[in-house]
Symmetry: C2
Subunit: 208 residues, 2 copies
Amino acid sequence: MDAIPDQTELPGQRGPQQHEMRERVIRAAEARFRHYGYGKTTVSEIAADLSVSSAYIYKFFDSKLAICEAVCGSLLGRIDEALWQEARTQKTAAERLRRVYRLLLEHSLALFFHDRQMHDMVATGMEHRWSSIERHIEVMSEVARFLVQEGRASGEFERKTPLEEVAGAVASTFAPFCHPALLEGSVDEDLTARAEAVATIVLRGLAA
Amino acid sequence: MDAIPDQTELPGQRGPQQHEMRERVIRAAEARFRHYGYGKTTVSEIAADLSVSSAYIYKFFDSKLAICEAVCGSLLGRIDEALWQEARTQKTAAERLRRVYRLLLEHSLALFFHDRQMHDMVATGMEHRWSSIERHIEVMSEVARFLVQEGRASGEFERKTPLEEVAGAVASTFAPFCHPALLEGSVDEDLTARAEAVATIVLRGLAA
């Protein structure tokens, strides 16, 4: 199983950040949310699954919502790790960026649509403007900036346009392939081909 | 006052399509929705504003929801007309496309944020997958395709990539500047600069 990305600094979290119990709660909650949905899961059920008391869980999270935010952060964190893993391979920056569009689409579709319960959870998170979602958006921007820098360093990409402007523009073009509201509106379209086409035009735009 | 774009073929509409009364209902409803919101407006109030009976209004629309959809179509139709007007000017295709990004952003922000009541109405429409919203999405795609064709005809844009692929990709990059959920998440950012940056990279990608 993948490691759970660092959840420190999320609100509603208490006690030692790296405690193994925190990770166990997140995993147990994720399994419950996945099977029964966020609404139908109680903290005492999560506690029972772990053979601990609810009070013990409350040492780490101040509410079910805080657990939910941590689960959401964990799910999005796994997408972020897949993006970083691709971004750091030895391929050309252009190839890596193209793959990032596809990965983002694949992982986002899996999260939002193959798993309806999880979709509802993330929707709740977007409504509450959870910091785990803000962080995911930030990571996507960082990956875009990193790859633009890499392409500039290798001479693949032009260097005249200010880096932040270009990186921000690239990150904006990720939106149709990662935002649940946009993915939901495009389920009938061939999103893989669309992501490919956007990657192509953006890469032409970046080229030296 | 601008003409109301053609509302034929929207569901829940009855009676003669071009009847002047249909337009008057849409305008009266829009004014009510703008001041009091969709939820607080009744068909009998709209009827009273027009000095007609509710029954008369029901000759043209089968429900308040159908009136609401027509109002939504009217508002989005005005954005579409602004886009087409720009797309058909005599500037270079590149200049026109750049302006389309800005216009789309300005009109969408005005609709969704300067007018909270209207925002709620459009949100309702997106939930119900109204055909007026589908049509708006289609018009944006058509404008993108038209401008790519124009740029290819004038020799500004490359012609090797299949037209539909390129046009679709360009339309996808409009999303951050027209989708309420994305605009809402980016209110702190300088969206005008971002739209400009996306236009720049896309135009580089389109260039011959």
